[in-house]
Amino acid sequence: MKKHLFTTLSILFLSAGATDAIHAPDFNLPAPNGKRINLSALLKKGPVLLDFWATWCKPCIKGMPKLEDIHAKYSDRGLTVLGINEDGPRGQNRIRPFLRGRKITFAIAIDADGSVMKRLQVRALPTTILIAPDGEIVLRQAGLADAKDLIAAIDALLPKKEASNESE
């Protein structure tokens, strides 16, 4: 049994690298003000950049200004930046003071039981996941995101600025 299981796992492990596209499972989470945020509804507007973070996570805090810049620069072109908070019940009361103080204006959702983190196989904070409008995960970075790669991937998903101006 053990041999069979691990042979199968090994084959899966090796062959999985050849798979083309991985799609993000849908989720529905509350925002700090209680409103519900649904991934599939956000994807109808354009690509979504997920950032898994917590108030006690130093690299997460360090990366937030960069995400705020991305939100400011790309939100009018259809990108949604969504921070998914993983503080759990312990830090939930501090989320709003934390965000306001740091002038974070992109959307936040609270994953109180960590089930979305599990569903997206996130094992470290911060983790950044860029999802194309069709649901495909096009970039996934554990740890502080590499800004160059991230911006290049976002640019590739969004319509060119000049082109959109011309069409208007």
């Binding site: 492990f13 519900r36 709003r96 039981d113």
Partner: protein, 505 residues
């Protein structure tokens, strides 16, 4: 059905739109654990998470494999398996799942992602998870939220594969059945009220059935304050444990602030609220600095009352000041009381070009940890070069005293120098020096060592594409308390080489 057969069926029958994702976590060690019965050993812990998804449906499982060379310990187990259907706000799940009722006073099923622990009692490595095995159905809409669940909770501190007795037999990690529910309504968009109920069916013949319930309310009054540029909200939950052992839990929290100033305050009163499947808010600040994280107070749900107040002030183009006061009291008997007190001041310098810095000072006491005085200070600098490389310096100092032991005053010094390349690889050298008599004395010898002890380590990390993350540790680290996501656990000391590999496909 055998898992390999199930996988084969999934692979063969999967439609074109279906996908399989695999996430792996491997940790290999070659070295020794101070105070253990064996000399240098080699161990390998492997965790595979296999997910099959198609549109709103997901199914998957987790295997945990642990091998020890040089000792008779090994584990091969499928520790989680599930099938889930999600659509909009609806969720139905069978198998192993996570859930929270209210703020966790009556139930919270969760895991600590990425944490691999070694059980001191069973000497097995595993990923701690306090999950439920059963079924859950939930609906979350803008006006109504409802959850109903049933399952057997895992006892998080018993690792999979733990054995006892002669001949050795597997210890059951899940015995009690519980069923629970939550119903919450929003009569107005800024008001939420609801209740939770959990019924516990203990498996032991001597144990009584009992149940717990809670009522909660949350009010967001930002709409009333927004003209003044302010925000604010309050949340309160009262829980009772009925029949069997009587107990109660009360949690109250609130926050208010404006663009620069923020204030959050919390109060707790817990008495006999330890169910092993709940996790009420602890009201203890989560510290990321090494010396503070390892001396974090651990919530005692048998009896604890206290409060936490935190204020933050952000000065534009400079940084954020934080002040935190935490206090807790445990009534452990008619004449036995213990106290935890902590004051924390920190300043995060955030807005200088290419330089960030954190300065902190913390002082307090924790009777449960045997510390009647503790003072800790530190500075953490990070600078980024024009090529995007980050250099870091982390210096911390702690002076503490115990009411017993000789010497009863000791200090800890911690230093780390790090370098990180923007392409995802880096290195750090860590030096941890202590005169704590409990750390200086080596449990593996009969002598009582005195003086000081230094732990050196080299840490290397690399990210290879989007599929692999690797961390290599070489050196020695001490054990003790560590906390992740608000949950604290004990880590064992280790000396040797450790390699961790995260994979995702």
């Amino acid at each position: 059905m055998k898992v390999s057969s199930l996988l084969l069926i999934l692979l063969v029958t999967a439609p074109v739109s279906a996908q399989i994702t695999i996430a792996g976590l491997s940790e290999m060690q070659r070295g020794e654990v101070s105070g253990s019965d064996s000399t240098a050993i080699s161990t390998a812990y492997n965790q595979f998470n296999v997910d099959f998804s198609q549109k709103d449906f997901q199914a998957g499982f987790r295997t945990e494999v642990y091998n020890v060379w040089g000792a008779d310990r090994e584990v091969y187990q499928i520790t989680q398996k599930y099938a889930r259907w999600n659509h909009g706000g609806a969720r139905i799940e069978v198998g192993n799942y996570y859930a929270i009722l209210g703020r966790g006073l009556t139930l919270r099923a969760f895991e600590l992602p990425g944490v691999v622990l070694e059980s001191q009692l069973y000497r097995l490595r595993y990923s701690p998870a306090q999950d439920l095995e059963g079924a859950i159905a939930a609906w979350a809409g803008n006006r109504i939220e409802a959850k109903a669940l049933i399952g057997r909770p895992a006892i998080g501190d018993i690792p999979p594969g733990a054995k006892s007795g002669n001949p050795p037999r597997n210890i059951a990690r899940r015995e009690d059945w519980i069923s629970g529910a939550e119903l919450a309504v929003r009569p107005f968009s800024n008001l939420k009220i609801g209740g939770t109920s959990v019924h516990i069916n203990p498996s032991g013949p001597q144990a009584e059935n009992n149940w717990a319930w809670s009522g909660f309310g949350e009010l967001d009054f930002t709409d009333f304050l927004s003209n003044a540029g302010l925000y604010g909200s309050v949340y309160t939950e009262y829980a009772r444990r009925e029949s069997g052992i009587d107990g109660h839990g009360f949690y109250l929290s609130g926050n208010i602030g404006g663009s620069r100033l923020g204030l959050s305050a919390e109060y707790k009163s817990y008495d006999n609220m330890s169910f092993r499947f709940n996790d009420p808010p602890s009201l203890i600040r989560e510290h990321t600095s090494f010396l503070l994280n390892k001396s974090t107070h651990v919530l005692l749900l048998i009896n604890e009352q206290g409060f936490q107040i935190e204020g933050t002030y952000t000065q534009p183009n400079l940084g954020t000041f934080t002040a935190n006061v935490s206090h807790a009291r445990n009534d452990l008997g008619p004449t036995v009381q213990t106290f935890f007190e902590e004051r924390h001041l920190s300043f995060d310098l955030e807005n200088l070009d290419h330089l960030s810095a954190t300065f902190f000072f913390n002082w307090g006491r924790d009777d449960l940890d045997g510390l009647d005085s503790r003072r800790t200070g530190g500075v953490i600098f990070e600078t980024t070069t024009a090529t995007g490389q980050t250099l870091g310096l982390d210096l911390q100092y702690q002076n503490a005293s115990r009411p017993f032991g000789e010497p009863n005053t000791f200090n800890d010094k911690y230093g780390a120098i790090s370098w990180q390349h923007p392409r995802g690889f880096g290195a750090a050298i860590v030096i941890d020096h202590t005169s704590d008599p409990f750390e200086v004395d080596r449990p593996e010898t009969f002598d009582i060592e005195t003086g000081t002890r230094t732990f050196w380590s080299l840490n290397l990390n690399a990210r290879v594409g989007t599929h692999y993350d690797a961390i290599l540790f070489v050196g020695e680290r001490r054990g003790g308390t560590a906390c992740t996501s608000g949950t604290c656990y004990q880590v064992l000391p280790f000396q040797g080489v450790e390699m961790r590999l995260n994979t995702y496909f």
